[in-house]
């Protein structure tokens, strides 16, 4: 028994493979999905998605906001951003995070939409960094 995992962002299909299990960060906490899970539709939070591969290996991806659907043995994740551990450029992410935080602090009259946008950026950057640093 195995699961089919698919992670799709607006830019590309990031991941599409057969896996043993997957841990998804949801707004209510992390959930682990094994084959035979009940159908579920849930909101995905910013954080770390852990894939257990059939060979016994593990892969971690940083993921930013979206939805996940489990239907049969198919796990589909619809995320605004997603990237694998290797493709994270720590320095670039740090800088992006700093820039966004600065913008939030400097301008008092941000309209709520912009604020939300920036906050999302910061959250996603945070998720990327914690993933990269932990693996050292």
């Amino acid at each position: 028994m195995s699961l089919t995992l698919e992670i799709v962002t607006p830019e590309a299909r990031v991941y599409s493979d057969t896996v043993d299990s997957v841990v998804i960060p949801t707004v209510e906490g992390e959930i682990g999905i094994l084959p035979g899970h009940l159908p579920l539709l849930t909101q995905v939070a910013h954080g770390e998605l852990v894939v257990a591969q059939p060979g016994g290996g593990q892969e971690r991806l940083a993921i930013g906001g979206g939805f996940a659907q489990i239907s049969g043995d198919k796990v589909s994740v619809l995320a605004e951003h997603a990237c694998s551990e290797d493709s994270i450029d720590e320095r670039a992410v740090e800088e992006a995070m700093k820039r966004a935080q600065q913008q939030i602090e400097e301008s008092q009259h941000l309209d709520p939409q912009q604020y939300e946008q920036l906050q999302k950026l910061v959250n996603y950057a945070g998720a990327q960094l914690s993933l990269k640093r932990r693996s050292r």
């Binding site: 590309a12 849930t42 619809l78």
Partner: protein, 292 residues
């Protein structure tokens, strides 16, 4: 017969035109590539989203959210996606034909200057015009969409529909009117999307009871606006890919035309030149004959 000088002048001007159209073709071609990639890359996302929405909508009551509710249609809200500049063949004209077919009361929102101009000229009720850059960035599109959804929720307009050129391939773009809200029948909608994209879900649909976290209404509240934004953005990307494809093809045709014209003119020029030379030789020969 035109003098050789006149012909030379025309040759020069046609050459200039050819150079300009060739440059524009190259620019459009590179932009087209990027735009096409963007729209094709976004399709699986839109599909998956429609799939999720379908699964969700079939399990909740349609009256739980204003986006799903069926209501009497008094004023339609139509978003018209056109280009900012011309020189793209019949792309905009084909869209305007579709606009002309809208007879019922409707309010229009335009993205793209050409569309706004057309709506103003034909005295349609244009309530807003938005400008979106060539890449069709999500944040800029979002402003326009949120403007429309606000009007929709306030009851000022009763539908949200989009008229846009659907990108099929470089040579074919079909003008299309696509209803977005209200989503009274999501399942059919997801199915049409799948047929258009040329995929069909091979996995049997799971009809078991589905869990929603945190809860069905909350997921619905989050997913629906998200869906509307992303879906219309995808249409904008498609419109952009169509624009650059149409422009590239139009410019290529113009360039080829110029080349053909140039060939004809060169031939005519050579003929005229040859005729003048023959004339001169004849005159000299005749003069010598008389002198002798």
């Amino acid at each position: 017969m035109a003098s050789t000088r006149d012909i030379r002048r025309r040759i020069k001007s046609v050459k200039n035109t050819r150079q300009i159209t060739r440059a524009m073709e190259l620019v459009a071609a590179s932009k087209m590539k990027r735009a096409q990639q963007a729209t094709l890359a976004g399709r699986p996302y839109a599909l998956l989203m429609a799939d999720m929405l379908g699964a969700l909508a079939s399990r909740v009551d349609g009256t739980q959210h204003p986006f799903l509710e069926k209501r009497e249609i008094k004023t339609r809200g139509i978003l018209l996606l056109t280009t900012n500049i011309g020189l793209c063949g019949a792309l905009n004209a084909n869209l305007f034909k579709l606009v002309g077919e809208v007879k019922s009361a409707a309010k229009f929102v335009a993205i793209g200057r050409k569309g706004a101009q057309y709506l103003a000229r034909t005295k349609r009720d244009l309530i807003a015009e938005f400008v979106v850059d060539d890449r069709g960035s999500f944040n800029e599109v979002k402003v326009a969409i949120e403007f429309m959804t606000e009007r929709f929720l306030a009851g000022e307009i009763d539908t949200i529909e989009v008229i846009y050129p659907r990108f099929k391939n470089t040579l074919v773009q079909t003008p299309l009117l696509r209803p977005v809200l209200p989503l009274s029948n999501v399942r059919d909608f997801a199915a049409t999307l799948e047929v258009e994209a040329g995929v069909h879900s091979d996995s049997p649909t799971d009809t078991r009871e589905m869990l929603f976290e945190p809860s069905a209404p909350e997921v619905l509240d989050a997913l629906l606006p998200f869906y509307v934004n992303r879906f219309i953005h995808q249409l904008v990307l498609s419109a952009r890919a169509s624009e650059f494809s149409a422009r590239m093809v139009a410019m290529k045709t113009a360039k080829d035309n110029a080349s053909k014209l140039l060939d004809d003119l060169t031939l005519e020029y050579n003929k005229a030149r040859q005729a003048a030379i023959t004339q001169e030789i004849l005159e000299i020969a005749a003069a010598q004959y008389v002198a002798a």
